[in-house]
């Protein structure tokens, strides 16, 4: 099989993942999109491992590592989503803006007022 097929497939998976991360509002769908990106990368790793006929199979080993880490990441991520939902009754990513920079109308931050003149 030509190397282009799996590579193009991986690129498409990654692109779908990027789109999901950037555009979906639902946090669980964002997590799933992250999984898509990771698996796109995994596909690349395995593909090139075969293509280069690496005796050490380092690409496959790396892919296994990524799978394990992805599982852990999803566990932590889902736990966070669960807690956010319990606290705020929403998991829409773009409504979680507690950490935004608060500015006055003239563009200066409020802590300026505390500085000596």
């Amino acid at each position: 099989m030509h190397v282009a097929y799996p590579v193009v497939l991986a690129a498409m998976l990654f692109s779908v993942g990027v789109y999901g991360v950037l555009a979906r509002r639902n946090a669980i769908l964002v997590l799933m999109s992250v999984e898509l990106m990771l698996n796109g990368a995994n596909l690349n790793l395995v593909t090139f491992d075969i293509w280069r006929s690496d005796v050490m199979h380092s690409g496959q080993v790396m892919a296994l590592f990524v799978i394990v880490i992805a599982a852990a990441e999803v566990g932590v991520g889902l736990a966070i989503v669960l807690l956010v939902f319990r606290n705020r009754s929403t998991i829409a990513v773009d409504s979680l803006r507690e950490l935004r920079e608060r500015t006055d109308r003239d563009g200066t931050a409020p802590e300026d007022a505390m500085d000596p003149p």
């Binding site: 990027v18 773009d94 920079e101 500015t103 003239d106």
Partner: protein
């Protein structure tokens, strides 16, 4: 020999460290540590001098090789010859006398432990100046002395006068130190080495410009350190220090360092005749002017302080008019003995009377016989009465000036400066006799003005007096062997006649019922003379006013230009940052879009550029 000389420096240095770290808790007490360190140093200095005595002009040198830095190398080393060995012995003996005396003088003083440690450090710094084989290392000792004098003059820092005197001494000598450091740089770069021996050897190769610049800059430092006109006024003010410190500063360390450096680098100065002319004239002005000021002063310590300036002036005149440094070094050594003696005697008087003013003393010869006899010996040496050490040394300088005027061309300086030097030296001999007689009469004779004094100084204070009186008397006899110091008939006769004149005039003015202060002869001009001809007022009105104005201007610039620039920069940065803040809207997906765009841009750039 050189190892022993290094130990001479290190012994008081170690004592200073132990004293500083241990404070009052060290075994034997702070005084014991300081005395042991200085005494060890004295013994070793004696051995060093005995070792080099056979061949005084031979230079023994050793140094540690430091890692080369690419520029002119700085060596840490010791250089021993007859000059440095004898000066080192003088320093250690005076320092030892001062340390022993201080145990009695500062009994019960709350800060005695740090005082004793600083005196040890001061001694070590002076010994470093004396024995250093490298001009940069010499400068290190020179600066340590500056800072020690600051701390010791300001020992009684509760008194605002003492603090002001300490700052004044520090600042005035600092003015000269800048010149001194750059003088070392000029000479060092001209000789391509900072070692004293190399610099002296390179004198014939140096251009006249290098010699002139180097010696003039060095002379600035020397004039400030040795308190010569026009940078003399810190020394009389330094009388705010405890009296043993005055003895140390005036006799062994600090002011002696200036004369020592000129004597050490005498061949360099001899090659720069303009510097010698200038030095001779400045020294002549200092020696006569401060002798007159000593005649008018009311405070016994100020009398001695002005007399120090005057004697140091004589030494510089001697170094300028004579191609041989022996007479001036002889005066340096004998001056150290008798000036330390005089200050310690004055300290005993002040300790007993509780006042510095001679008006509060009088008739003290009955109550304090030991002080009377030793101080009389000191005054006799200061005046230059024949068998004492002062006579031999001073006469050699007057004789050298006499020769310089007579055989013009043979002397290193021109006729004008040597004539000024001779006239001022002769007048100073007369005035010195007058002011010494005045101080002697006012303190020890006349009616008893203080009945409370009924006892002499305690033994711990009087023994150093007796010990110092011996060299004051006998150093002159030891010097008879040196042909440079043999008195010449005519100058010796003239100066003896002038001494007799000075003593006679002072006695005549004093005698009468009731006894009078001989200074009344000055009449209305007394105040002018007492303040050394208003030099301090002059500085107050010119230098101090200009400095204050400059400081005010600098503070305005600091507030309005620098401060405003800093605060405006801060505000501007914050406002610029405000624009960037607009993007921080809390939407994580917007941030991630930015990250992705950045990654794409970097990837495209990398692809295009590779």
């Amino acid at each position: 020999m050189t190892t022993l000389a290094a130990l001479v420096i290190l012994a008081p240095f170690a004592a200073a460290w132990i004293g500083m770290l241990g404070g009052r808790r060290v075994p034997l007490g702070p005084g014991g540590v300081a005395v042991i360190g200085t005494a060890a140093s004295t013994v070793m200095a004696l051995v060093v001098l005995a070792g080099v005595a056979g061949d005084a002009s031979h230079v023994r040198e050793s140094s540690i090789q430091l890692t080369p830095t690419g520029s002119i190398p700085i060596t840490v080393g010791v250089r021993v010859d007859g000059l440095s060995a004898s000066v080192a012995l003088m320093v250690t003996v005076v320092a030892l006398a001062v340390q022993v005396y201080s145990i009695g003088y500062l009994r019960g003083d709350a800060r005695y432990s740090s005082y004793a440690a600083f005196v040890s450090l001061f001694t070590a710094a002076m010994l470093l100046v004396v024995f250093s084989g490298d001009l940069i290392v010499l400068y290190v000792g020179w600066e340590i002395m500056g800072v020690c004098s600051y701390f010791l003059i300001g020992h009684h820092w509760e008194d605002p006068g003492a603090t002001a005197a300490a700052i004044k001494a520090f600042l005035m000598t600092r003015v000269g130190d800048v010149g001194f450091l750059f003088g070392i740089f000029v000479l060092g770069s001209a000789a391509n080495s900072f070692r004293v021996s190399d610099v002296l050897a390179a004198v014939p190769r140096m251009s006249s410009g290098e010699l002139l610049a180097g010696t003039l800059l060095l002379a600035l430092g020397v004039v400030a350190k040795s308190a010569q006109f026009p940078l003399h006024s810190w020394l009389p003010d330094a009388m705010a220090a405890p009296t043993p410190i005055s003895a140390l500063i005036h006799a062994a360390t600090m002011v002696a360092a200036g004369v020592y450096v000129v004597a050490l680098l005498h061949p360099v100065f001899l090659a720069a005749s303009f510097t010698l002319d200038l030095l001779a004239v400045l020294a002549a002005i200092s020696t006569l002017g401060s002798a007159l000021a000593a005649f008018a002063a009311d405070d016994i310590k100020r009398v001695l302080a002005y007399s120090t300036i005057s004697q140091l002036g004589l030494m510089f005149v001697g170094l300028a008019v004579d191609a041989d440094r022996v007479p001036s070094v002889a005066l340096l050594l004998s001056h150290a003995a008798y000036k330390a003696l005089l200050f310690l005697c004055a300290g005993a008087l002040i300790h007993a009377v509780g006042s510095n003013l001679m008006a509060d003393m009088g008739g003290m010869r009955h109550a304090m016989p030991v002080t009377f006899v030793t101080m009389t010996i000191g005054f006799a040496a200061l005046v230059g009465v024949p068998p004492t050490s002062g006579f031999v040394a001073k006469d050699a300088i007057v004789g050298a000036a006499w020769d310089a005027v007579r055989h013009r061309g043979a002397a290193p300086v021109g006729l004008g400066p040597s004539l000024v030097g001779l006239v001022c030296a002769l007048l100073t001999v007369a005035v010195t006799a007058a002011y010494s007689t005045r101080a002697w009469l006012l303190t020890f004779f006349g009616p008893v003005r203080n009945d409370a004094v009924s006892h002499d100084a305690p033994p711990v204070m009087s023994i150093p007096l007796i010990v110092l009186a011996v060299p004051t008397l006998l150093l002159g006899l030891a010097a008879v062997g040196a042909h440079q110091l043999r008195p010449e008939l005519l100058p010796a006769t003239v100066s003896l006649a002038l001494i007799a004149l000075g003593v006679g005039v002072a006695y005549r003015l004093w005698r009468g019922v009731p006894v009078r202060d001989p200074a009344i002869v000055l009449g209305r001009s007394r105040n002018a003379v007492r303040t050394a001809f208003y030099t301090d007022d002059l500085y107050e009105r010119t230098v101090a006013v200009m400095t204050r104005r400059l400081a005010a201007g600098v503070s305005v610039v600091d507030d309005n230009v620098l401060g405003r620039a800093v605060s405006r920069t801060g505000r501007g940065a914050r406002q610029l940052g405000g624009i960037l803040r607009l993007s921080e809207n809390g939407n994580v997906q917007a941030y991630l879009t930015g990250v992705l765009l950045g990654a794409v841009v970097i990837a495209v750039c990398a692809a295009m550029l590779s």
